[in-house]
Symmetry: C2
Subunit: 247 residues, 2 copies
DNA sequence: GCCATGCCAAATGTGCACATTTTTATAAAG
DNA sequence: CTTTATAAAAATGTGCACATTTGGCATGGC
């Protein structure tokens, strides 16, 4: 009697790790794309309804995102999209700057022609996107340049740390808008590569530092601040065509 | 089967966030102390029985530790204490080395007498512990020195990253045993402070680098490798005096 | 003797039914 | 009209009952 089956009549405890991952990726993607405005409440029941999964599954995903510090979890009060302070953003940029100084210091000891060649090729891509006027590609490639630098070291811990920093700064673009007007100047990236080729640590670090300070100086507060109330259904509209109840 | 301790029909959903934290801290502490050998299986039912809480609570904690990469989670097969490779350990040390190079680069721009004074005081503590022969204090203070360095920058992201690295290397002590014979030489720490006082970036980084390479060279494989099967009850014996079934 | 196969106990994964807490709506008082 | 108190509604947190999967063990065939 107590065995209430699901609507699809199949098993209830059916293991489906892919479903977890799909929901996680969907929400994470929405966060990184900036579709979810800062301060938006992410309640479990509506999300379960939208994605057509149980509430527990949504719950697990939200708590995971909270553990990764991508969502702000408050006990008994659910999940919200974090509203980073200007100091928070500066902190992330500074961390990136400090990290890259260390990376460059280590990198000059291991530069070889292949690396310089790869970086030069990347610079060409960046210039192509810039002259083409493709803003989206420019932003993407600009971030990828720094990823290339750290991955040249082949250290998983450092790569993960940088990925964490970049993903966090992505979210921040929706509040403060850095570098939408003019992204990382390709020339500055080129100067870093040039210093690397010359094995000049001090110059590489100095250029990198100026580069980051340049970007940081463009940060400014964008205080339209829609405090809450965003239509989640609209945000996740095209993500999952699963049926949901009549609105 | 293990009789669920809490069967009082009245308050089932009683909120108790402190209980979560207690279990989390207990397992984390056991991990950091090296009481849990690498490769040990952490099954949910016995842990629930030991701590006297429901299985779901254990479950949540284990998954949290898995998300923090302190436990290795395999779908449908539970949690195990990770068995880090020698390359993993080297990776952590290298990351610390690279990070500290960046930290020192940034730090020489903001050194003041107060900082030098604090670091000097710390060095005195280290020396005292060393001459006293207090090995535990020496290890602790030796790690704390590097924490002091990064915290001098006042950047939360960087501090968190270093804490992550340190906690991971703590776990690794149980497999490879670095620096138990002779921990970070105080003289090397002193040389770093001296270079900072002189505002000599290159020297600070060089000394720091040599320091880390020195420690890394002491790593060696300790392959006794008890493959599994550790008595969890004994490990968590003194942690939680809560009543459990037999005993 | 050794590998393959089937069965059974144990462990993990998940939906659901509550309890608890928070938030919203409504009514009353100043 | 604003503010406060109270009740209703919604959302979050948790234990439990299953389903599913895994691992071990015995049996049978080569």
């Amino acid at each position: 009697m107590a065995t209430q089956r699901r609507r699809n009549g199949k098993g209830i405890g059916k293991a489906n790790p892919a479903e977890d991952e799909a929901v996680y990726q969907a929400i994470l993607h929405a966060l990184l794309e900036g579709k979810l405005k800062a301060g938006t409440k992410l309640a479990e029941p509506p999300l379960a309804d939208i994605f057509g999964v149980s509430r527990e599954r949504i719950r697990k995903v939200l708590h995971r995102l909270g553990a990764e510090r991508r969502l702000e979890m408050i006990p008994n009060r659910g999940a919200r999209v974090p509203r980073p302070t200007l100091d928070d953003v500066r902190s992330v940029y500074e961390a990136h700057r400090v990290l890259e100084a260390g990376v460059l210091t280590q990198l000059v000891r291991h530069v070889d022609d292949a690396l310089i060649e790869r970086l030069t090729a990347h610079l060409a891509e960046e210039r192509a996107a810039a002259t083409r006027g493709d803003r989206a590609a420019s932003v993407r490639l600009s971030g990828a340049f720094h990823v290339h630098l750290v991955e040249a070291l082949g250290n998983a811990e450092l790569s993960r740390f940088l990925a964490d920093l970049l993903s966090r700064s992505s979210v921040m673009v929706s509040v403060y808008e850095p570098a939408t007007d003019s992204i990382c100047a390709v020339d500055e990236h080129g100067a870093i590569v040039e210093a690397l080729r010359a094995r000049d640590v001090a110059r590489a670090i100095a250029v990198s530092r100026e580069h980051f300070l340049h970007v940081e100086s463009r940060l400014h507060l964008d205080d339209d601040a829609a405090p809450a109330g965003q239509d989640l259904t609209a945000v996740f509209a095209a993500v999952k065509p699963k049926r949901r109840k009549g609105r």
